[in-house]
């Protein structure tokens, strides 16, 4: 049985991590004295510092979780404050134990690592974990009676998030390239400000989508948990445990935002949804034959 252990860059936490690494920064110029061949040289290095050092990752997660829990019905057996605290502890624990991610974020702050490397790191990390996300959804599907199309909508968000990272990479690459060749620090800062202005609306949009994605997942998981221990991975997801109207509302709001986000991303890359499906691949081949059969034949009763 696969347990759902997300890293800091899964779609549940995406915006926060990227906001932390790309937007919550200010370019700075640092004068360093370097010794070479017994002589001292002044070297000016450009880097970044945090805009809000006191605002921790935990603060961002807590406010997001509280916002989620404030907009869904919670069973009487759970206390909202305690749930928020459990989610927070888990998120902070994931972040604290994610040494690799922390190192990358701090390197961006300490000017050693350019922003493009940070986004590329996010892409590489997501690519390496993509199969795990798929496996988590497949495993949850097998331990539930919710239809496959429900899980498909979650996978679509994961894929959209991956495409969003690619779009972000292009924007950051372009701005960082111009910034690198700036004649002075003022020009450098200007390019960085432009980059932030460009990536900010995309991160905001993806954040809104991830918020509703996370809300939908939390809603389904909480209502299928009998105690606090189960809230991250209940034994079985039973559609009968969900209030139909509330579930439909939470699902439809997520679905509408997902659609809006995909349309929004098309403005930055009109080709991102244009992917070829190999008709010879056995599953595609099976599907194409089944989809052409009359609906009445897609029923199996024993």
């Amino acid at each position: 049985m696969t347990s759902s252990i997300p890293s800091t860059l899964t779609s549940d936490f995406s915006g926060n991590a990227l906001r932390y690494g790309l937007l919550d920064i200010r370019p700075v110029e640092v004068v360093e004295i370097v010794k070479k061949c017994g002589m001292k040289f002044r070297r000016i290095v450009r880097g970044f510092e945090s805009l809000t050092p006191e605002k921790s990752y935990a603060d961002m997660i807590l406010s997001q979780d509280k916002a989620i829990l404030g907009t869904i019905d919670i069973p009487d057996r759970f206390d909202v404050e305690k749930l928020a605290d459990i989610y927070l502890k888990r998120s902070v624990s994931i972040y604290e134990n994610d040494a690799e991610f922390k190192k990358v974020v701090e390197e961006v702050r300490r000017k050693e690592r350019p922003l493009l490397s940070f986004v590329r790191y996010a892409i590489d990390r997501f690519t390496s974990e993509k199969d795990t996300y798929l496996e988590v959804e497949a495993d949850r599907f097998l331990r539930s009676n919710l239809p496959l199309s429900f899980y498909n909508k979650l996978v679509v968000c994961d894929n959209t998030y991956y495409d969003f990272l690619g779009i972000l990479e292009n924007i950051v690459r372009r701005h960082e390239f111009y910034a690198t060749y700036s004649r002075n620090f003022a020009m450098y800062s200007k390019h960085m400000a432009r980059m932030k202005a460009d990536v900010s609306p995309i991160i905001d949009q993806m954040d809104k989508c991830c918020f509703l994605y996370s809300r939908l997942k939390k809603y389904v998981l909480i209502w299928n948990s009998s105690d606090y221990k189960q809230i991250f991975n209940p034994d079985f997801l039973d559609i009968k445990n969900l209030d139909f109207n509330e579930f439909t509302k939470v699902f439809n709001e997520y679905n509408a935002k997902l659609k809006e986000t995909r349309e929004f991303l098309l403005k930055y890359n009109p080709e991102f949804l244009h992917k070829a499906i190999d008709p010879e691949e056995p599953t595609a081949n099976l599907f194409s034959k089944l989809v052409r059969l009359p609906s009445s034949s897609l029923v199996l009763e024993r």
Partner: protein
């Protein structure tokens, strides 16, 4: 699928080269999405309810732990399961044997490949892999659907056509049932309201194209395979 793809590709290139408008009615848009969803849910339920249940039942009956790797006895258990359904369909004449055969080929080929590779695979792992394959495919289909239909980024545009129920009924009288009758009625309504020549393109040979002469004669609508659409317009 290959044959179908090449026919649709011909329509795409004709549409782009000759700048011919291609429209999809709301009824087609909705039916397509629902059909994909229905197929996806059907396949999901077969894997989760039918295959999983049967494999576990046989293992329990034979007192073999569920965590043991799969072997040829599991394949034989699946053979019994699929044979049962094939026979049931044959004797009752309810439903088509096609879906069962197709799913049978898909699952057994996948398992066979795993065995050939020497992979050690448990029932849980096998089922998870099948679901992963389905989710990968259905999410790609959703991308293509959104690209082509929802956001209309390619060669087709969606037409919101108010269908005259009298036209739809007259099409049903020709032996074409819902929702096909609604799709055809949309094309007829569009042709009448715009005065433009419309060619209704479909790959449905059994319920629409076999009645194309009747549709031309009684509803003044040209219907054809996408391969020939261009030539009906000139």
């Amino acid at each position: 699928m290959n044959e179908q793809s090449s026919r649709i590709n011909k329509l795409k290139s004709d549409s782009s080269f000759h700048k011919i408008a291609c429209h999809i009615s709301d009824s087609v848009k909705d039916e397509t999405y629902e059909k994909v969803k229905q197929t996806s849910d059907f396949l999901g339920s077969i894997v989760r309810e039918t295959i999983k249940y049967h494999l576990e039942e046989i293992r329990n009956k034979n007192d073999i732990p569920l965590t043991n790797p799969m072997d040829s006895s599991d394949i034989k258990a699946l053979e019994d399961l699929f044979t049962y359904y094939q026979n049931a369909i044959r004797t009752t004449s309810i439903g088509l044997s096609n879906p069962i055969s197709l799913i049978e080929e898909w699952t057994i080929s996948f398992l066979g490949e795993q065995f050939d590779k020497g992979a050690i695979i448990t029932i849980d792992h096998f089922l998870t892999e099948l679901v992963k394959k389905l989710l990968t495919l259905t999410s790609s289909i959703e991308d293509s659907y959104d690209d082509l239909v929802t956001f209309q980024k390619r060669y087709v545009t969606i037409k919101n056509i108010i269908v005259d129920s009298r036209i739809a009924s007259s099409i049903e009288n020709l032996g074409i049932h819902k929702p096909d009758s609604l799709h055809i009625a949309s094309a007829i309504s569009h042709q009448a309201s715009t005065g433009q020549k419309v060619v209704f393109v479909t790959l449905d040979f059994h319920s629409i194209l076999d009645k194309k002469d009747l549709l031309k004669e009684q509803a003044n609508l040209l219907c054809c395979d996408p391969l020939y659409a261009l030539y009906h317009l000139f």
